[in-house]
Symmetry: C2
Amino acid sequence: MIPAEAFFLTPGFNGTLQQEIQQMVAEGILRGRFRAGEKLPSSRRLARHLGVSRITVTLAYTELVSSDYLAARGRSGYYVSDTAPQPTLYPADEAPRRDGVDWDRWTGRRFSRHPVATKPQDWHSYPYPFIYGQADAALFDHQNWRQCALRALGRRDFEVLTDDFYERDDPMLIEYIVRNILPRRGIAARPEEVLLTMGAQNALWIAAEVLAGPGERVAIENPCYAGLRAILGQLGAEIHAVEVDEEGLPPAALPDGVRAVFTTASHHCPTNATMPVERRAALLARAADEDFIVVEDDYEFEMSFLKPAAPALKSLDREGRVVYVGSFSKSLFPGLRLGYLVASEGFIREARALRAAMLRHPPGHIQRTVAYFLSLGHYDALINRLNQAYKRRRTVMDDAIRAEGLEIAGQGAFGGSSFWMRAPEGVDTDRLAADLRGQGVLIEPGRVFFAPGAGPSNHYRLAYSSIAQTRIPEGIALIAAALRRAGPNAPR
Amino acid sequence: MIPAEAFFLTPGFNGTLQQEIQQMVAEGILRGRFRAGEKLPSSRRLARHLGVSRITVTLAYTELVSSDYLAARGRSGYYVSDTAPQPTLYPADEAPRRDGVDWDRWTGRRFSRHPVATKPQDWHSYPYPFIYGQADAALFDHQNWRQCALRALGRRDFEVLTDDFYERDDPMLIEYIVRNILPRRGIAARPEEVLLTMGAQNALWIAAEVLAGPGERVAIENPCYAGLRAILGQLGAEIHAVEVDEEGLPPAALPDGVRAVFTTASHHCPTNATMPVERRAALLARAADEDFIVVEDDYEFEMSFLKPAAPALKSLDREGRVVYVGSFSKSLFPGLRLGYLVASEGFIREARALRAAMLRHPPGHIQRTVAYFLSLGHYDALINRLNQAYKRRRTVMDDAIRAEGLEIAGQGAFGGSSFWMRAPEGVDTDRLAADLRGQGVLIEPGRVFFAPGAGPSNHYRLAYSSIAQTRIPEGIALIAAALRRAGPNAPR
């Protein structure tokens, strides 16, 4: 007879009371504390002991019977089933262990020494989160997402989605991307020219790995997305960072002998500059002359609410020299980890083989959920809603920034979701960000975007994709006040 | 006025009629065929035209109103909304394109030239699928999986799970692995010694990338999981394949100067041999003497229904020299893509930085769904059910194989899910598999497990994880008949 006193509710348990009771019983059996044939407390006793309703205990017991942890014996109550899962927990050896391996020497810290930007995990709890690239739960279409996920969890899809796809993708999602998303960017592609990835980060990683090896020369923009610099640094490529101007990357400034050029042509990260069509043509002409490949990270094209986005660089590509990177992280949410590569079949063949060896494929359920969300029109409705909200927020940002006399260094002509800002000379925005964080304001210091050791330290990025519109003016005012405190050259 | 005739139902559409109607309307708007202010056909007319009930059309229209594709104007009907998503489809350039890049030269086919085993995509439709590593939908606990997924889709989790975790994992899942799964393998680990991966494939890939570079010497077993050989081949490592015997990998046969040794000690893939404890001790002693690392792929420990699985090699590791690879692909399903690495903190730090640059993290929703499924006891109940089914199937396999006089080359002492088989000398199992496929029987030819060009061609693997018990005798009889046809030395 197992006493009711063997059970305790844990404060803050994430789930229902019924789930908690099920979990306690299952864990007791798996840890060998409750053995086959032992009688559970009656539902009445356990309910009284825990202070819950009797039906809750009964429902938990019934569930445990159906999963064969418990057996019901007529009126005499519930027992641990004879065929319940065996307790298979070995006594863990808790003796402290001496590490016999010098991991720093062993690995050369080849991966961990490349810095990437991260956000504080608890950014939701800050009142003024001017952070970039996280989903605003208030704008997301949670209900329809849930519906689509449920549909993809149905028996009809289940058999297909639980399989190992090996190198394949969900044809339904590929079809939608080819027929409905790429045409908006002016890109005509066949299904075999598209490969799904674990977000844009994974797409950039695969492109880098296929196109360049250790010691080979690649060009990136300066400033540049820090995640790309980490990829190329880990790969051991010879990185040339080319200064951008208000028209983005100048093709004439590229060094000779590069294998690949990485660009955010439509919407430079982080300055928001758009590369004009003449530069695009010049870049592609130079790529053809010198036989290099252009990787286009088109990371935010959906956020074009001021005017239609310019077609992608890839749309001008007549030679198959552009490898295009797209993502659902900005339009859906980043925790989804879903993006795609569009390129010539010869490139995709290698990328597909690399992805298969590295991770096989993005989970089937996620691919199918997105396919449903897109094809039912929820994706476009969501983007429409995001754009309306971002447009309003941007106006409020603009007004507040001007009212406080802050300096904008770059803002997207089409829209986007952030401003690239310049603090007065001498202000260190790493310190500024730390100061503001104490006041509930999150900004992104600019240093991580620049080539190490070479960049200015007075830039920062302010995004409006996660901050509520009503908070913007006060947040900007707090930034202006912090800047006034930060130096004598600050705006008054 | 948009005519009802503009709409056609597609035979085989995967979804409800209501969803299909929504999709047709949304797509027409996004493609620019239906414009703002245009009137939709009345629900009565469209219902008659499509041959569906009127309420179905009304429900679809109502949904489209709520997502702002349509607007309802009192009694006069439904119109394309003025604020509907813009048609943003550029006219696609369909001109055939000449590829200006020689991709074979460019990439050296560095990734695609390494063969991996795949299964036919339509294996479900074969009556005798003796294939390995796919989930049997008939045994899976679909209902509770769906419940857990739904819970993870709830608003409470949603905010957390939509975020970009960067290098982090779901602490709830890590906690369960550390407290409940690793102790079954005799492994005591702290949360910072565990990293989630996209399945065991991704775990092996990360381990290989962290531990060895191009030209560095690594040892693998021969025969060996083909996916591992592909990883190391793509990496450009110097691969030494060491012949296994009935006790698995012999440590004395390892070459000098290796950086890392990859082993399936508890359950050799594909022969099912278990390495005895003396060999394990010898392997670890040699690793300490020569400063190499052992990567242990413990890919199927849950399937131990004949006796309890031996503790993992990692449980004997006193120096932090073993990198342990676990997976939920066999116990849940492979399309999930979830596995984990357990190793010293110094290793995990590098693995984490590599994973962050490569793909960030496995999708949050999947991590949390698995955490719920495990902690509510469904995982153990499922394994219990799988083991009962596998135990029965194995007995039937055993009987049928003996009745037909086929030769077993290896079968797991603990259980497992497959037999390693030897056909008579001179039989080419690639050809045998092709022959059998025509009769609805899927077997796995053994050649892909051996070092290229060096292995015998008369082995094959028969798994019983996906085939219904009642089909086994007939399937084995078909294999025996095909072997009799295949050569004069075949069993009579």
